[in-house]
Amino acid sequence: MKITVRIWRQKNADSKGKLVPYELDNVSEHMSFLEMIDVLNERLTLEGEDPVSIDSDCREGICGMCGVVINGEPHGPENTTTCQLHMRTFNDGDVIDVEPWKAAAFPVIKDLVVDRGAFDRIIQSGGYISAPTGSAPEANNLPVPKHDADHAFEAATCIGCGACVAACPNGSAMLFTAAKITHLGLLPQGQAERDSRVLGMVEQMDAEGFGGCTNIGECTAACPKGIPLDVISRLNRDLMGAIARS
């Protein structure tokens, strides 16, 4: 296949970026999207140009390190991560636009690489269960109804990639935050800190400069792990309850 990629090039956080077109002749449909970029980078390197900076690690759709906006959609047209997107999704002659996540809370580091440290700080503000090592009771002392466990698991599959923020017209981190609130809030172990967790995490989310959620729902559509939208309602219920009690 022959394709043209227009890639966002930006030297560093302070400079202005722009889309730069590159033509690729021998793209195999079996390549992953990132392998296509690898091939381009090999060529740029040999031509003495700066290769495109792009994050990835596991390339299995689980670490959440990769993620770019492809043709205006976070992680591209398929419901998967950027690393699991394959070129067979595209057609010969296509022009593909590639841009980084854009959100005030995710400053660009270089080209397609952004800083998602804000997510870690949201977790620091309550996204955990305080269980010092060694203090745990026997695991089966605490049965968890399978339904709750499955539901908690579903929310826990969030990989922290940030596509939800990139998709949200408000740049809100609500889906990410709500997924964690749901995961921990559904388990009996998570009850003791339920109020302080939601208060702390929401406050941090605001402090990081994420937008407010107005329930648009783009986040769920972009999420490669299909984190369901009702987690947001659950967060709101917890939040109202916590405010009422505090």
């Binding site: 636009d97 959100a103 017209p169 729902g217 709101n236």
Partner: protein, 217 residues
């Protein structure tokens, strides 16, 4: 935000019910307008209920407006100043990036605000009185809507209200924790919002158009 919005939705439902009395003729409508003012007497002073409602509405609108502008500013900052349009790619404009909601909520809200000011001057205070002022609320309404551009203007405003509520009702209920579905499409709240928003728009639009087309007594 959600609470203030829903207070207003509640008011609109009542208001619409009242407006539909236009179809029962002048007497019924004026009676209803009068009744509003003497409701609860002697426990409440004249206009008591009306004033309670007015204060509540004013409060709601102030809270709503304040929250809306702050949210708007914050979200603009958070999404890198351009909201849904911050990506340069011109592909997939209709895709998941370009949401109707952020557009209709904000500009729709502004249209509604302008409309409410006009509307109050027109039908409550009767300062602007296209078609002639009158002491009878019924007459004011009829006088106004017999003029085509008044009706068109009300229609535009009501479409704005409709869109605002289509998203707003869903959103408010979700914010209050009522959504239990994994996507918006699958949620029971989506049809609910549709029905209420549609009912309000159509319910409000019936009287003006009926008057314009001369269908009322």
């Amino acid at each position: 935000m959600a609470v203030s919005g829903l207070v207003m939705v509640g008011y609109l439902l009542l208001h619409m019910y009242g407006n539909l009395k236009v179809f029962s003729g002048k007497a019924a409508f004026d009676e209803y307008a009068h009744h509003l003012r003497v409701f609860g007497e002697p426990m409440l002073p004249e206009n008591g209920l009306l004033w309670i409602v007015r204060v509540a509405l004013l409060l709601a609108i102030v809270v709503h407006f304040h929250a809306a502008t702050r949210l708007w500013a914050r979200n603009k900052r958070a999404s890198g100043a351009q909201g849904g349009k911050r990506y340069h790619s011109n592909k997939g404009r209709t895709g998941i990036q370009r949401s109707y909601a952020s557009f209709t909520m904000r500009w729709g809200g502004v249209i509604i605000l302008v409309f409410i000011v006009y509307h109050l001057l027109h039908l409550t205070a009767n300062i602007i009185a296209p078609g002639g002022a009158s002491d009878s609320p019924y007459q004011r309404v009829v006088n106004g809507f017999e003029i085509w551009w008044v009706t068109v203007w009300y229609t535009i405003a009501l479409l704005a209200v409709g869109f605002h509520l289509w998203h707003g009702i869903w959103s408010a209920l979700t914010t209050l924790g009522a959504n239990r579905s994994s996507t918006r499409k699958a949620s029971k709240l989506t049809p609910l919002a549709w029905i209420i928003a549609g009912a309000i728009t159509i319910g409000f639009l019936l009287p003006p158009w009926a008057i314009l087309l001369g269908l009322t007594g």
